[in-house]
């Protein structure tokens, strides 16, 4: 198998280095025999060589190393002293090893190597290891004799006679250590000749061979310290930057010679960059090749039969990535065999080959490397995954039902997910697929899983070629430049200020609807707490849509620039733990820019969704709520029925586990941010089918002045913006404002205030009444708005406060009503057909009958200039539309003035 050859090759390379080291260190040792560190180092080298040789089955070589090691052990124990003889012995042993290496390189085996030790070596060694059977039994020979030629001859005589001549060549006179390190004309066997040596070479004939011809082929490859390559890489990175600057100048230059030189520089730099990149590249086979063994062991321990096929081992990847990909691959392959491949009898029963197949494949595609792990095993039942995810509380019942099979499969990458019922030693030890996913994402990669039940599973990993130079999008925020790795970039969205619906708000969270999907938004300047002044009311908003591992979010930046190739440099240890940055880079102008870490940012974006923070009053004002376009929070209680609540009324969304619910009096409550949150179950109020009992459910939280209350819902579906009219006809129940069709489903819009006031009437009775200070008096309000939807919401909270409400759909109708009915207060929209709110208030102020009626403007246009204009026209108050508490307070004030 090829891969054995590769092992041998790397063994040879390493051994060659070891021997060079030995040559050097042995001489050092002779100079400073007391230096323990040198001795230890030499011992270590022999020990490693012995181990490696043994592993590859080079028994003879192993024996030489072993004998030497024994001798070294004795030296270390103080049983032997280092003298010239001993050093000679060690150097000879080293030379012997060299010969072995040459033969191994030629044959792939050491069978043809020298069969016995050169005599001085043999006799010294025999003292150390008397049991060595192949050694001459000359234990009694005094060390002083060992160097004599007579001794050499003697030992040869005792060896296999056919090989005498050969050994003669190996035996190096011990008194000439210099020769040993460079035996130019002695003791050399060229690899090519060696197989024939024993048989053909005439006794005693010396062939003078050029030393160079014997150099190991492994010499043609050199090992280079990776840090040196890293330095080169850095310098090339700088060169690329300098080149970019030169090119910029060149464009202004007219001297043709200069232009030619600049162009030449351009080409050479690119080639150099490519070349240096290549030096860091390694075939992925370096990782793949260890898997046959891994697979064999795992399969055996599980009593399964598995063949591993490798494909595309030559695919090259940056060294750092190769190292990073190793562990995740081992994990995934283990999983494939453990969870995927069925036991042989089961496979037989299914008509499959009892021997399962796992294909590990790598190839280049679009500047990325794709690695696939394909097995022909049982596949993954997505239903099974859903069930498991439900049990673990990772998803809700509704999510499980609405999730497609592909999405369901990706659940196995969620933390805390493991499908195997039985925990085995191989996989399922709690180190889940989530770790694999994180590891791959760390190097800018992605992982996906596809499966077909009973046909097998494919896991696809996509990783960048290199981490050192990456294409990146340059953006600015708060007047600072940042680079975003292109691999995470999905698309760019530019929103004009007129774009509707634009960015929507849910509590504190900003959300953009991108082709029907909710995209959580984070503002870079906010995340990084950039103090630079924000562009006020920018004409457009730039959203960079980013993705990590199948989940997307939007990053709002001030400006988007070009993409550039940047050289990634790590941040020092003081800055490493800032999640938002992956590194830094020197830009074309010589300044430093930070590289954003999309995985780190995504954690913040996730928080945006998970923990919709309380929305403060100022943000409530910022709620965009166009007259005709309303944003609805869609949810389900029972799978068959869909409901909506105007999302602006919602204070927060929370998830709650059923076992946290407690009962007090007639209400269910949960503890929530150190307060008691009463829960309302809509199915107990409205005629809705009872929902399934849920372990985990969502709570839509409302705030009424300082009271909080939550609606229990099974699943939050979406935030949906529509300009549909809400059909209030045929409403049979108190608590429903009307119906509309959303996503093709009849959706009931809930009258939140009605429901809350029915459940908690005490919250709505004015405190004065409660204390018996004043009599409740029904004030008559004329509510003017062209949107029936707005009217219905406003009516509901005005009525819940005890006002009687009459509606008008524009200023003209309001004036007509004023002529026929008495009103205490007018609440009006501004922007209306026929007669707008400003015209209405002017008409009221100019009339003689009702010029004193308080008029409150309620508009979505509540900028200071609008308010000033309104006040000038005669408005008594000017409020943001749908800010309930504010409106109630204002009305109360007017009410007191009136009475």
């Amino acid at each position: 198998m090829d891969f054995a050859a590769e092992f041998i090759q790397s063994f040879l390379e390493e051994a060659q280095e070891s021997i060079e080291l030995l040559d050097r260190e042995l001489v050092h040792l002779e100079e400073t025999p007391d230096d323990k560190t040198i001795l230890d180092e030499i011992f270590r080298v022999f020990h490693t060589l012995k181990g490696n040789a043994g592993m590859l089955g080079f028994q003879r070589l192993e024996k030489v190393a072993h004998v030497t090691e024994e001798v070294l052990t004795e030296i270390r124990n103080g049983k032997r002293h280092i003298d010239e003889d001993l050093i000679t012995f060690l150097l000879e042993a080293t030379d012997l090893l060299k010969e072995f290496l040459i033969i191994i390189e030629a044959d792939g085996s050491d069978a043809e190597g020298p069969t016995k030790l050169p005599s001085p070596l043999a006799s010294i060694a025999s003292e150390a290891a008397p049991s060595e059977s192949q050694q001459p039994k000359k234990q009694a020979v005094a060390r002083a004799e060992t160097r004599s030629n007579a001794q050499v001859d003697q030992s040869q005589d005792e060896g296999e006679s056919g090989k005498d001549s050969q050994h003669n060549e190996h035996t190096i006179p011990a008194k000439q250590p210099e020769n040993i390190s460079a035996p130019a004309d002695k003791g050399s066997i060229s690899g090519e000749e060696s197989p024939a040596l024993d048989a053909k070479r005439p006794h005693g004939e010396h062939e003078p061979v050029d030393r160079n011809a014997h150099r190991l082929k492994a010499d043609s490859a050199i090992r280079v310290d990776v840090t040196l390559l890293d330095n080169l890489m850095n310098m090339v990175g700088e060169l690329v930057l300098a080149r970019n600057q030169i090119i910029q100048f060149a464009s202004k230059e007219e001297n043709p010679a200069y232009l030619t030189a600049a162009q030449r520089l351009n080409v050479v730099t690119s080639e150099l960059q490519e070349g240096i990149m290549k030096t860091r590249m390694q075939p992925i086979g370096n990782v793949f090749n260890r898997f046959p063994r891994v697979v064999r062991d795992i399969a055996k321990s599980l009593n399964k039969k598995v063949t591993l096929k490798l494909d595309g081992e030559e695919t090259e990847l940056d060294k750092t990535i190769i190292e990073a990909i190793r562990d995740p691959l081992v994990h995934l392959i283990r999983n494939s065999i453990d969870h995927g491949i069925e036991p042989p009898d089961q496979r037989k029963a299914l008509g499959k080959d009892p021997r399962g197949q796992v294909l590990l494949r790598a190839y280049h595609e679009g500047g990325q490397v794709i690695i696939e792990i394909i097995d022909d095993g049982a596949g993954i039942n997505s239903e099974h995954i859903r069930q498991k995810a439900l049990e673990k509380g990772l998803i809700t019942q509704q999510q499980a039902q609405s999730m497609n099979d592909r999405d369901a499969l990706q659940l196995i990458f969620q933390p805390g997910f493991s499908t195997k019922e039985q925990v085995t030693a191989i996989s399922g030890r709690g180190v889940g697929m989530d770790v694999v996913k994180t590891d791959i994402e760390k190097i800018g990669g992605t992982v996906e899983i596809h499966s077909e039940v009973s046909h097998g599973t494919t896991i696809t990993i996509k990783i960048p070629l290199t981490l050192a130079i990456i294409p990146a999008l340059i953006v600015t925020s708060g007047q600072q430049r940042f680079a975003i790795p292109q691999v995470n970039l999905i698309e760019l969205v530019c929103l004009d200020s007129e774009d509707n619906p634009g960015i929507e708000k849910l509590g504190d969270a900003e959300i953009y609807r991108l082709r029907g999907h909710l995209l959580p938004l984070i503002r870079l300047s906010k995340v990084l707490q950039l103090s630079g002044r924000q562009l006020e009311k920018a004409a457009s908003t730039n959203i960079v849509v980013l993705s990590t591992g199948g989940w997307q979010f939007g990053l709002i930046v001030d400006q988007i620039h070009d993409t550039e190739e940047i050289v990634v440099k790590p941040l020092g240890k003081h800055l490493k733990n800032i999640d938002c940055f992956a590194g830094a880079s020197v830009m074309g102008d010589g300044k430093v820019a930070l590289i954003l870490d999309v995985v780190g940012l995504s954690k913040i974006a996730k928080l945006v969704l998970d923990d919709v923070a309380e929305h403060s009053e100022t943000e409530q004002v910022a709620l965009t709520f166009d007259d005709n376009v309303h944003s609805l929070l869609l949810f389900r209680i029972h799978p068959d029925s869909q409901f909506a609540i105007p999302s602006s009324l919602v204070s927060r969304l929370e998830t709650c586990s059923a076992n946290h619910v407690q009962h007090t009096g007639k209400h269910e409550v949960i503890q929530y941010r150190d307060r008691i949150l009463p829960l309302i179950r809509l199915e107990t109020i409205l005629p809705i089918e009872s929902p399934l009992t849920l372990e985990v459910f969502s709570v839509v939280v409302f705030q009424i002045e300082d009271h909080i209350v939550g609606f229990v819902v099974a699943e939050i579906l979406d935030i949906f913006t529509t300009d549909q009219k809400i059909d209030a006809s045929g409403i049979e129940y108190d608590g429903v404002l009307g119906t509309c069709i959303i996503h093709g489903k009849v959706t009931q819009v809930i009258d939140v205030y009605k429901i809350i006031s029915n459940q908690f009437p005490e919250w709505f009775i004015k405190k004065e009444v409660l204390y018996g200070l004043t009599e409740p008096e029904e004030k008559r309000i004329l509510l003017v708005d062209d949107s029936p939807f707005i009217r219905s919401i406003e009516r509901s909270y005005l009525e819940s406060e005890g006002y009687s409400v009459i509606e008008a759909q524009d200023g003209q109708e309001a004036l007509d009503l004023l002529n026929t009915h008495p009103f205490d207060i007018i609440v009006t929209d501004i922007d209306m057909p026929r007669m707008n709110g400003l015209e209405l208030v002017r008409a009221i102020r100019n009339s003689d009958r009702y010029s004193n009626i308080p008029v409150v403007a309620v508009s979505s246009l509540a900028e200071p200039e609008n308010i000033a204009e309104g006040k000038k026209a005669g408005m008594d108050a000017y409020l943001q539309k749908l800010s309930r508490d504010e409106l109630i307070m204002t009305l109360k004030n007017f009410g007191q003035q009136l009475s």
Binding site: L575, V592, L594
Partner: protein, 155 residues
């Protein structure tokens, strides 16, 4: 292997000599020194890229001939109060293994050759700064010279 031998030699040589050169610098009127072996170079003020969310003592990143170097507000590090970094501030570039860090100081002084045996321990009564950041103190003719423990300052 060889490098350990060299290191050994080096250490032997070092221990035989008792004086050491120290690079000195000022933070306002306080006088500090560090073993010159730490110092790679000294540069005038460089433009910096601020690092959001970084600790207060991180002033920013500078481009040192293509290498990205963190500039540390040494005063913020030692005193916990940010210094007024301006165009007259100097970069004392120190090398800590593979990492290069610039210490922003107010002014650079001479290199002083001082006897290690004359160094006194930092008085424990010094409360304004963390004593861990110092190896010791020299009592010079008209002022005190605090010797930084660069390792601790940088870690």
């Amino acid at each position: 292997m060889q490098s350990t031998v060299i290191q050994k030699h080096f250490q032997n040589r070092r221990s035989n000599e008792s004086t050491k050169p120290f690079a000195t610098f000022y933070l306002q009127n306080e006088f500090f020194g560090i073993d010159v072996e730490w110092v790679q170079e000294i540069l005038k003020y460089q433009e910096m890229t601020p690092v959001p969310l970084a600790p207060e003592y991180v002033c920013g990143l500078i481009n040192l001939r293509g290498q990205i170097v963190m500039a540390m507000d040494l005063k913020a590090r030692l005193h916990g109060k940010p210094n007024h970094i301006n165009a007259s501030s100097m970069n004392l570039i120190v090398k800590d293994g593979d990492e290069i860090i610039s210490l922003l100081v107010d002014d650079i002084g001479d290199v002083l050759e001082l006897d290690e045996n004359d160094m006194h321990p930092v008085p424990l009564t010094m409360t304004s700064m963390n004593t861990e950041y110092f190896d010791g103190v020299y009592r010079l003719e008209n002022q005190l010279l605090l010797i930084l423990n660069v390792k601790n300052v940088l870690s």
